[in-house]
Amino acid sequence: MATETLSIGKALNAGLRRALENDPKVVLMGEDIGKLGGVFRITDGLQKDFGDQRVIDTPLAESGIIGTAVGLAIRGFRPVCEIQFDGFVYPAYDQIVSQVAKMHYRSQGKVRIPMVIRIPFGGGIGAVEHHSESPEAYFAHTAGLKVVSCASPQDAYSMIQQAVASDDPIVFLEPKRRYWEKGPVELDAPLAEAYPLHSARVVRPGTDATVLAYGPMVRTCLDAATAAAEDGRELEVVDLRTLSPLDLSAAYESVRRTGRCVVVHEAPGNLGLGSEIAARITEECFYSLESPVLRVTGFDVPYPAARVEEEYLPDLDRVLDAVDRTFGW
């Protein structure tokens, strides 16, 4: 079996290539995804190999990208739309929320919109405003959409293929600051044997506290767990992977053992995913909890200027601080 070391960005590229090879109805659409290969080069070389009818440079209008993709889906295509940056998805918000999400429901199951909306999300790259946001809660709040995020090259490779193959409309959040992180990827593994798309996964076992994260924060939490281990505290880290629907079965099982839980995300805390997760864990694991579920999140401010983003973003120390607080409750 061919195992290669790839970055998350290259793994996404390889996964999209496989998806284009496997199904002639798959089309990629977005701004600058053709010759340029996308601003992050995720689609690098794909237009050259599959042509400009399969890898389509679109006019510069996000609602147009998603709206025309709806029509292509009704026609029987499987559009994979790239939104260039998280902060640019809002012009398409109406089409995503009112059309993409509801078409199957309104048609009583007669219309499927097997669309993937890829969004590089999150901060940490020193960007100007509108390039560092975490809009997952808006989409996870919307019935009819599924929302996933990958955190490793292997998941990037298999999850993007699973998302393209799924008949559900899926918002696929890519941890942009981790695009260049490398790891092993089994390129030839059959997709059917890949870890299920809508399942969370324990990525580091531990016994003392449970830490839940997704996307770019998984790496942060794994680093925090390494640091905690040096202090003799074993953190169990769960990569949630699927944000809508949530799969909290692994989290429940973990929290029942550890009695302590910290949820971590970059997005602002107020009404963020962490709020929902904390509520559910409290409901399911009430008698096992030694302390309330704590959240480590971005602050309730607009994403700040790049020179202070390191203070805005949850980091290893803030995660460990929260873990400490669960022990001192």
């Binding site: 009818q53 029509g71 559900d168 629907p245």
Partner: protein, 392 residues
Amino acid sequence: MAKGDPGVTTRGRRAAPRAKRTAAAGDPELVQLLTPTGERVERAFGPDGTEYRVDFTDEEYRGLYRDLVLVRKLDAEATALQRQGELGLWASLLGQEAAQVGSGRALRGQDMAFPTYREHGVLYCRGIDPIMPLGLFRGVDQGGWDPNEFKFNMYTIVIGAQTLHATGYAMGVAMEGRTGGDDGEAVIAYFGDGATSQGDVNESFVWASVFNAPLVFFCQNNQYAISEPLERQTRVPLYRRAGGFGFPGVRVDGNDVLASYAVTRHALDSARHGQGPSLIEAYTYRMGAHTTSDDPTRYRIASEVEAWQAKDPIARMKAFLEKQQIADAGFFTEVDEQARTESVHLRERVLAMPDPEPVTMFDHVYPNGSPELDEQRARFSRYLESFEGSAH
């Protein structure tokens, strides 16, 4: 244009724009093949010199008249059903029958239509059971038919959103190589004058243009977006906007079923042969309210409505059929009788529409389902069953 110019115009005659234009017989901007008094115009020309004419048999003329009458009657029945509390809302097409029947009959079997929420007449011409949209307005469903089965998309309530869907669909047609001959497929996107201010409509103009999509944009300019008159949406005639996007635009008398047919058929055939999109502005008037929740007396005057009453699409067709002796009194009686029968039938079936079971609200949220929703449904079902004597 001097008032009283003859009705037929030819290309390039008049370039000077005027401050204010009105649609009237003889307006060089308006393609018209049947005047408000029922006089046939042999041929008419679009702004790019395209010649429009129709060559119907008597049978076909009578068929169009029948469509107009039936569509108006069914629409009136739906309005009555709303007034009696049987529908939550109704968006009447009163006054726009010719634009809808003309364009709807111009569609070929393989063509695809993307309606707003008012295209009951187009729906009827597609051979679709008029009961289908009434579920949406009664509130027993959300209009759930299969667009590909009927070549007619579901109604779209969000203004202009469907124009992008139509554009993407048309791009797909072209990508599949289904254009370029008489059997090619074309797509039509319906929207109103208000929608032309929407970003989605303008984006769809850009997309359709640069991808050369086989698409006809069919704008029914009924002069009002709820209460706001056309002047609040545009300072140029809507059809001229097409030029800025790089495709042809034409204004047709939307109360003239023959011209609406001719213009739409030409645009569709052009699209199916791979010649790209075009815009039709069907100049018409919404004789009724925006919907049954609206009160047009607050924003328009009676004399304006009366002036349009004189251009009624059905009266002019009837006058034409009578003058040309294409139909006799027996025919008109028979059509009225058919309209009455069909509307009674429609009413009976609306009243028989059952309310859905509450638990069905959980159906079809996702093609692949969701464990979270399964759990919510189960919990809600148990809750319903917990009531004494529950039928659930």
